[in-house]
Symmetry: C2
Subunit: 106 residues, 2 copies
DNA sequence: AACATTTATCGTATATTTACGATATATATA
DNA sequence: TATATATATCGTAAATATACGATAAATGTT
């Protein structure tokens, strides 16, 4: 999708551009089997670190890190540095917002 | 993502494989600005036809048709042939299931 | 039957995503 | 300070997604 098209779409919406984009980014982020699995894993094991997640998944550490970045950029997840490791959690407030918005929109 | 990886993931889930895949496909389908817009449009104008949707969007008819196919494959939308046109609606039952599943999972 | 209208599909170019190994960065420990 | 450990980033190859024009298919109309 070109920027031109994105600009054309960014007019007259019920959500503000920022919220709308974030909402769509959340859908996109969770619309991948690996990232969906990561979300479930963090739900089950809040505060798990990257190594835990890597062990749980059939892909390389570098790829896990890339997927984590997508989830972070969608503001679904936050990583807190704890010593040499990073602990990951869902951002409960934003997951709640997503759930509420899903209910509200559809 | 390779098929090998998809197979590795398809084990020991809370949702059945079919439901899990459908749930993720729904996220993916709605995780695109054009398709999200289409969903909102159909919500607002149930039974609108392809021409309506094309008029509402800044992309070619062929591309709209492709996006509609993705939404249909995710079982979010159904098209009913009505004369030479096709009328599109959200599949309320499945949207409801999606909403319920979002509440249940997260 | 011929034609007009509407939508889907085909072929294809380009952009984006996904995956990996290699390497950089950052912190804890010896 | 040197080393080990954990995670992020870089470069890149391959797969997938997105967009388009051209054209096929399906239906209504003359």
């Amino acid at each position: 999708m070109t920027n031109e098209i994105k600009e054309k779409l960014a007019k007259n919406k019920s959500l503000s551009l920022t919220e709308r984009e974030r909402f769509i980014a959340m859908f996109k982020a969770m619309g991948n089997p690996i990232r969906y699995e990561m979300m479930e894993h963090m739900l089950k094991y809040p505060g798990c670190n990257t190594a835990n997640i890597v062990d749980h998944l059939p892909i390389a550490q570098a790829t896990v890190s890339q997927h984590l970045k997508v989830l972070k950029e969608a503001e679904l997840v936050i990583g807190e540095i704890e010593g040499p490791a990073t602990c990951y959690c869902l951002i409960d407030e934003n997951v709640k917002w997503f759930k509420e918005t899903v209910q509200k929109i559809f």
